[in-house]
């Protein structure tokens, strides 16, 4: 770090970092300068001029905006002179002329209630007391700090603009806007969406959208970043709009593995009313997504399970915990270990998952335990032979400095939303984005020409192999790294002979030049990262994908390098943690294989029970085993499981077949329907515990709401069940106790404790209480494990289609399609997207089906196990890259509307991903006159 700069602010000598602005230096040293448009973590803008200060530098005295002026050596800054104060009062006067300010300039502002008689005759609708942002309004705080002359406020000009209350999730009332442009800037420079913009000029300039359209059309992803930064009541969350927070607590969002640090506001009636991204959050940098911001209030909803229930004569009856546990223990004892399975919740904390794993092994004697959303374990476990760790190698925000990001078969913008933010930032800064996906996703628009590779579905791994071959052909490998740090180069060199580019091009349908272009983009970048998911990858190929990705990163030296690395994309807030702590059928805590004799023996000793040596069933195998009757009893921690989640389709029917089912959930739902015993569970806002996110960061959840009934956190319920079954080692008092036991068993967690996590998350491996965690795996040569390249094999096209459903549908979803018209329809005061989609067909397919461009066609998907099909109707466009591939691109706004309207108490897990589907294609004959 460069030498600090010495300067004087208000007579106080301080040190600042070069590049800091005056306002930042002043804040760091505890001097308050009023501001409205400045916002930490955004570029200085200088719109409001509230932060003017007097500066003296090189003998010149000037009045400057402190948010845009960098500190200089020996600068003298005066922030509170009479002149400056006078200037600021004039500025705030002007800022307020179009904002209702009768109350802002009134001495009774702290005393007034909504119904009071107003001596100033301020209109009821103009009063601060009825503003949804009252008491958290930055404008109000700033005005109060100015000590204005209250006797003579300027005249107020009411703009009488229409209020926008018909878009999902948040309201916009530009009558309250002071045009600080924070919302426009956060949308553009932090989120890269530009769904909002400044319209018109000078005195009439205002925040708006193109042609004043709804947010659904303007490309809004409903992340709520604009709402979080708005200093006035112009942008407000619609739910709990006027509710006041009583307490607020920093916790971790429970929707996806990014692990966003979120400030939860709780009101006096014990409801979580608002969620704001925490600017101090290491994993999210203050950002949230539509799920975390607007769909996390489910713990408030009515109809929760409050007491344990037991099924007596096919009716669920309220009972006590003791009786419920006794009944469960008795029933579970009737089954042999092989007949029992535990499904852990994707929202389960490390503590829940550890106790669940221990319960399975110690009390039930089985390895049949898996996390519900651990649907693609190959993505992480496949890395074990290559990098030695079943996790992402680097950290989320390193991605913003990557010079190339390759995204394979994943849609992070929706599934791991905040992870896409640094990727988009890298793209904006000129990094190459390579997307390997048949679907059009939000990230494909960031690809430069030719870097969106759309292989035939089922050939992605072969394509990655082809890229690896091209990297070697063009000598783009990092020779020093490969020679000194990596094993296995000869093995894969031999294997790569079969990845002849002509053959790869033939199999994948991607031209050789394009493969080479992708290889050059990835291989020649200073730092290049790979994000890979399994959305479009066939089951047989998932392990190979992990190997291929690891090989590509190793050969180019992108392991152990900042801005490089590989990131598996999976679902579930704590899927990483559940695997780390052993809620996994193949691994005991700390990725010790259950077949590892000595490790198993040692853990058996510590746990005081014999651990079974056979690998258990994975989540998908469990569902199948339940359906065919091999598994007869199950414990399901159901919080956050959507039974219609792709990959879990058969779960509901399978649970119906069980002889005994114990469900721990917070709401009645499809899964608890068949339960024999129901244990009420505490939601993520009501517990203490830890999640581990996809960058291996262990973070602390803090309890914000109190538990007033008999709900219990998962670990407490499972530990009580363990005790009821007579097992020992389940005597835990707090989540911290459980975590202490985890730290004593899992080496990579050894240095972590709840106390340490109070001051921020820690990335494992963290060997002892002095270590600060590991941001980049293999950053230093790792003594314990030497990375190894592992051969993978080339495959011909694997085909899932059949004669009745001969096409593969690649369903994409984007924020907006600039060159296609979108229609928005207003129904019952809310906006909805209604538009005819385009179905992209290959000309050959179209001509053999007798379809010409612009005709209406219908797609029908192959029925799933329950016989459900999905249909799409749209206009044919003849521009698919491959015969047999049909693509449809829908708009993200439809998801937002659907979530807003959902009656489900917890709608976020139900947002459908975008799996590939086998479909049939028919032409729709439209009666004359209808079209």
């Amino acid at each position: 770090m460069a030498d600090p700069i010495k300067l004087t602010i208000d007579g106080q000598e301080i040190e600042a970092q070069p590049g800091q602005t005056i306002i930042q230096a002043a804040m760091d040293s505890g001097t308050y300068i009023p501001y409205l448009c400045y916002m930490p973590k955004m570029k200085p803008y200088g719109a409001c001029r509230m932060c003017v200060v007097e500066t003296e530098s090189n003998g010149r005295t000037m009045t400057q905006a402190s948010c845009t002026t960098p500190v200089a050596p020996d600068m003298v800054v005066r922030t509170k002179t009479g002149d400056i104060q006078e200037l600021r009062r004039g500025i705030i006067d002007l800022l307020m002329t179009e904002h209702p300010h009768g109350c802002l300039t009134c001495h009774r502002i702290e005393l007034c209630g909504p119904q009071d008689v107003c001596l100033r005759h301020v209109r009821v609708t103009d009063r601060c007391t009825i503003c949804p942002k009252n008491e958290r309004c930055e404008l109000k705080d700033t005005v109060r700090s100015m000590e204005l002359d209250l006797t003579n406020p300027m005249e107020y000009h009411f703009r009488d603009l229409p209020r926008h209350v018909d878009d999902p999730f948040y309201d916009r009332d530009y009558n309250l806007c002071i045009v600080c442009a924070r919302c426009v800037r956060v949308c553009e420079e932090v989120r890269f969406d530009t769904a909002l913009t400044l319209v018109s000029r000078s005195g009439t300039a205002l925040v708006g959208t193109s042609h004043g359209t709804s947010l659904l059309e303007s490309g809004c992803e409903f992340c709520g970043a604009c709402v979080d930064v708005c200093p006035t009541g112009a942008l407000v969350e619609r739910d709990y709009k006027w509710d006041k927070a009583d307490t607020q607590v920093t916790t971790i969002c429970s929707n996806c593995p990014v692990g966003c640090q979120v400030i939860t506001e709780v009101n006096k009636r014990n409801k979580a009313i608002r969620f704001r991204g925490d600017l101090a959050g290491e994993a999210n940098n203050g950002q949230l997504c539509f799920k975390g911001k607007f769909a996390s209030d489910y713990p408030n909803k009515k109809g929760r399970f409050r007491y344990p229930l037991v099924k007596i004569d096919s009716e669920l009856k309220r009972t006590t915990w003791a009786l419920a546990l006794e009944s469960a223990a008795e029933n579970l004892k009737k089954f042999s270990p092989d007949q029992i399975a535990i499904i852990a919740s994707p929202r389960g904390t490390n503590e829940d998952n550890y106790v669940a794993g221990k319960l399975a092994r110690v009390a039930l004697g089985t390895n049949n335990i898996d996390s519900a959303l651990n649907l693609n374990p190959e993505l992480t476990e496949g890395l074990l032979p290559s990098t030695g760790y079943g996790a992402a190698t680097n950290s989320i925000w390193e991605l913003e400095n990557s010079r190339c990001v390759m995204v394979i078969g994943g849609n992070p913008t929706e599934e791991q939303n905040v992870l896409a933010v640094p990727v988009k930032k890298a793209a904006r800064d000129g990094a190459d984005i390579v997307v390997i996906d048949a679907r059009e996703t939000e990230l494909t628009r960031y690809c430069k020409d030719g870097l969106w590779l759309r292989p035939k579905p089922g050939t992605e791994v072969t394509l990655v192999g082809g890229i690896l071959r091209a990297v070697m052909d063009e000598a783009l490998e990092d020779k020093e790294f490969v020679n000194t740090r990596v094993d296995g180069l000869q093995d894969i060199k031999q294997e790569l002979w079969s990845f002849d580019l002509v053959r790869v091009a033939q199999i994948t349908g991607i031209e050789e030049d394009q493969i080479r272009a992708a290889a050059r983009a990835y291989g020649s970048a200073e730092s290049a990262a790979i994000l890979y998911g399994a959305d479009t990858i066939l089951a047989e190929e998932k392990t190979d994908l992990a190997l291929a990705v690891a090989n590509l990163a190793l050969v180019t030296g992108n392991i152990g390098r900042a801005g490089g690395g590989i990131y598996p994309l999976f679902g579930g807030a704590n899927t990483q943690g559940s695997n780390d702590v052993g809620a996994n059928p193949r691994f005991l805590p700390g990725y010790v294989s259950v077949q590892d004799e000595s490790a198993r023996a040692q853990l058996s000793k510590e746990w005081g029970a014999r651990i079974p040596d056979q690998a258990g069933l994975s989540i998908t195998e469990m569902v199948a085993a339940m359906a065919d009757g091999t598994i007869k009893a199950a414990i399901v921690m159901a919080d956050g499981i959507a039974p219609d989640q792709p990959g879990l389709e058969g779960l509901q029917a399978a649970l119906d077949r069980l002889d005994f089912l114990l469900v721990s959930d917070d709401f009645p739902g499809e899964l608890s329907h068949f339960a024999d015993v129901i244990l009420p569970s505490a939601a993520f806002t009501e517990i203490d515990g830890t999640f581990t996110n996809l960058e291996r960061r262990v973070q602390l959840l803090r309890r914000g709401m109190t538990l007033n009934y008999e709900e219990r956190p998962g670990w407490a319920a499972l530990a009580a069940l363990g005790r009821a079954m007579g097992a020992s080692g389940f005597e835990f008092d707090t989540a911290a106790d459980v975590f202490a036991e985890i730290a004593s068993i899992v080496p990579s967690y050894a240095g972590i404790s709840h106390d340490r996590l109070e001051s921020g998350g820690i990335q494992w491996p963290c060997a002892d209480s002095e270590a600060s965690g590991t941001a980049i795996l293999h950053g230093e040569p790792d003594e314990a494990f030497r990375p190894r390249m592992t051969p993978m094999s080339i495959r011909e096209l694997l085909d899932v289609r059949d004669s009745e459903y001969p096409f593969t549908l690649a369903h994409g979803r984007v924020l907006h399609v600039p060159d296609h018209p979108v229609d928005v329809e207003n129904r019952d005061g809310m906006n909805y997207i209604s538009r005819d989609s385009y179905v992209h067909l290959h000309p050959n397919d179209a001509s053999s089906a007798g379809i010409s461009d612009g005709e209406m066609v219908e797609l029908r998907s192959k029925p799933d196990q329950d016989g459900n099909t999905v249909t799409f109707i749209g206009y044919a466009k003849l521009e698919s890259p491959h015969p047999g591939l049909i693509s449809v691109t829908t708009l993200f706004g439809e998801v937002a509307s659907a979530m807003q309207d959902s009656d489900d108490p917890d709608p976020a897990p139900r947002v459908r991903g975008l799996p590939l589907m086998a479909v049939s294609l028919t032409k729709v004959s439209v009666p004359a006159g209808v079209a």
Binding site: D193, A195, S210, H211, P818, D819, R835, D836
Partner: protein, 161 residues
């Protein structure tokens, strides 16, 4: 928009795309693109904003913020003829306000803009640069000087019919 005949909307897009690609200057910007379209179509339809966004790899909102900044861009089709009344200082002294008032009366509008039938666009001119001839009007960019109220109304009536 789906209700519009798709062919004409597509034709318009094709025309706009051709205009965007046909820009010959070395630096092509959002602004130059919008100007190129308005020079040809005389206004910026919705499609122009969308196509420009696509062409310059940005979003419709960013294009809109540029387009809405400049008063010279218009977003509705202009009338068949323009009728520009100068209200610069010289013309003002020579009675431009009265001329403007009776022209507006004749055209049946009370501000700048198009007549109901879309035949005439009335514009205010800040100075048409022919002060010696004040008061001045311009019809379809052809100046006419030393205008009286009678002539102004007659010309407006001729355009209307």
């Amino acid at each position: 928009m789906a209700s519009e005949a798709p062919e004409s909307a597509d034709d318009l897009r094709v025309q706009i795309q051709a205009l965007l690609k046909g820009q010959s200057q070395p630096t092509v910007t959002v602004l130059s693109s919008l100007l190129a379209i308005q020079d040809d179509l005389h206004y910026l339809p919705n499609e122009a904003i969308e196509e420009t966004a696509s062409f310059s790899n940005t979003t419709i909102n960013e294009v809109w913020s540029v387009a809405s900044f400049y008063t010279n861009f218009r977003f509705t089709p202009p009338g068949d003829h323009t009728y520009e009344v100068c209200w610069g200082p010289s013309c003002h002294v020579k009675g431009a306000q009265q001329i403007l008032k009776c022209v507006q009366e004749e055209l049946g509008i009370d501000r700048e803009g198009e007549t109901e039938d879309g035949k005439v666009t009335l514009k205010y001119g800040t100075c048409l640069g022919a002060c010696a001839q004040a008061p001045v009007i311009a019809i379809d960019h052809h100046h006419k000087g030393r205008i009286t109220m009678e002539i102004a109304v007659r010309l407006a009536r001729e355009l209307k019919s």
